[in-house]
Symmetry: C2
Subunit: 235 residues, 2 copies
C-alpha cells in the first residue's frame, strides 16, 4: 500500500480589512509564502470590496434588497418572496444575483465583480509581479444548487488553470474509454478552500497546494463553466 502525496489546503488569516482600490495581490503576497503550482482561492467578497463593487442598501428594507438583485440580473428565473433565483450578466444562476449583505458594513452590499475572470487574472499577474511565483487564481463565491440543500463554494473566475479537465478518452483501469467525465476542477478546488474558510469569518483567502500540474493552462469560468441557456435542460 502506498499513499498519494496528496494536497493541502491552507487558510490565510490576518489579512487587513479590504477597501476600494486596495492592492489585493500585494496583500496576499505579503500574507502567505506562495510556491509555484499553488492555487490561490480568493473569496468574491474581498475582490468586490477591492474593486469598489459596493452599493448602499437600506438594511431594514427587503424591497430595496430585491431591487438591487433585479438590477444586477439579466433574467429572473424564480421568485419566492424576497428570494430571487437570477441569471447574472456573467451567466451565473444564483440567489439574488450574488448580492451579498454579510461581512460588510451595515447599509451596504457587495455586488459580484463585473468580470470575475479578469479579477482572477489581475490577482495572478500581481502575484507574479510581486513574488515572482507562478500560481493559478480562483475567485470563489457561495452558491445554492438545484435539488440539494445547503450551499457550496464554486468558482466565479479563474486564471492560470483549465476550469474543466477532460478525462474523456482516458482509459479506465479496465481499458475502455471513459465517457462524460469532464471534471470541473475549479469548482472542486473552490469547495476544498471553503472547508478552511468556513472555520472563521476572517479567512478570505486559501492556498490549495499539490494540484495536478497538468491542470494548469488557459481558460475562464465564464467561457468554460457557464452553460449556455440553449444547452441547459433546466432553464
Amino acid at each position: 500500500m502506498e499513499q498519494d502525496p496528496g494536497l493541502s489546503v491552507l487558510g490565510v488569516t490576518g489579512l487587513p480589512e479590504v477597501s476600494p482600490g486596495d492592492d489585493l495581490a500585494g496583500m496576499i503576497g505579503r500574507g502567505v509564502r506562495l510556491r509555484s503550482g499553488d492555487v490561490v482561492v480568493v473569496t468574491q467578497k474581498i475582490v468586490s470590496k477591492a474593486e469598489g463593487r459596493i452599493v448602499a442598501v437600506d438594511p431594514a428594507d427587503g424591497q430595496s434588497r430585491v431591487a438591487v438583485a433585479e438590477q444586477e440580473a439579466v433574467r429572473v428565473l424564480r421568485r419566492r418572496g424576497e428570494l430571487l433565483i437570477t441569471e447574472t450578466p456573467h451567466g451565473f444562476v444564483c440567489a439574488n444575483s450574488g448580492v451579498d449583505h454579510s461581512n460588510i458594513a451595515a447599509g451596504y452590499a457587495a455586488l459580484l465583480p463585473v468580470d470575475s475572470d479578469r479579477s482572477a487574472r489581475r490577482i495572478r499577474d500581481g502575484l507574479r509581479a510581486s513574488t515572482g511565483v507562478e500560481v493559478a487564481v480562483i475567485v470563489s463565491d457561495t452558491f445554492g444548487r438545484a435539488w440539494r440543500n445547503g450551499v457550496t463554494d464554486v468558482a466565479i473566475g479563474s486564471a492560470g488553470i483549465r476550469p474543466i479537465v477532460d478525462l474523456r478518452g482516458t482509459a479506465d483501469v479496465f481499458g475502455r474509454t471513459l465517457v462524460a467525465t469532464e471534471i470541473c476542477v475549479v469548482d472542486e478546488i473552490a469547495a476544498a478552500a471553503e472547508l478552511v474558510m468556513g472555520k472563521t469569518a476572517s479567512v478570505p483567502v486559501a492556498v490549495v497546494r499539490g494540484v495536478d500540474p497538468s491542470w494548469f493552462g488557459e481558460g475562464s469560468v465564464v467561457g468554460d463553466v457557464v452553460r449556455s441557456p440553449a444547452e441547459d435542460l433546466f432553464r
Copy 2:
C-alpha cells in the same frame, strides 16, 4: 500574518480490486493509517461492487443502458437521446440514475447502493471495530449540475458527520447575523477528495484530515441534503 493549520487530502492507492462480499472497511483500514477525526471518502464504485450492486448490460446496446437507468429511477425529469436526468429512490437527481459503466468489467454496470447512508455507516462501524479509530465516512459519486458544465463529486451517503453545517446566527465580522449560510460540508469534502482521486483511476478512497471537529455528529445525506420535490424550485 498567521496561517491556519489547514487540512490535507490524501489519496489511498494500492487497494486490491473489489468484489461482491468484500470487507471494504477491512481493506481500507489495512490501506491507510487512520487518525481520530479523519473523514474517509469512498467512491460509490467500490461500495457498489462490494455490495454486489452489479448488473449485466450489453455494452453495444444503448437501449439496454437506457432501460437500466429507467429501472433505477422513480421519475425521469429530462430525456435527451440516451441521456436521462432521473430522480432515484434516494431522491438524488442525476444522469442515468447513477448507473456507471466505467471502471467495471465490459458487459456490466454498477448501480447505486440501495441505502448509501447505511453503506457509509457500515464502513464507519467496520473501521471502528478493526482500527479502534473514530472517523467519519462519506460515500461519494460524480454528478452533473444544472447551469454549470462539468461534473463534480458530491456525497451520496455519510456517517459520523453533520452533512450541513448551519452558520445562521453566527455573527459575521461586522457583528450582524448571517443568513442562508447552511454549508453542505459533505459535498465540499467529497469535492476535495476527488481532486486526488482524479489523478489516477486507481484511487477509490481518500482521507481528508483536519476538518473542523465541531462538524462531527449525526445526520444523513438522504435526510439532510436531498431537497424534497415540493421545496425544489427547479422540478
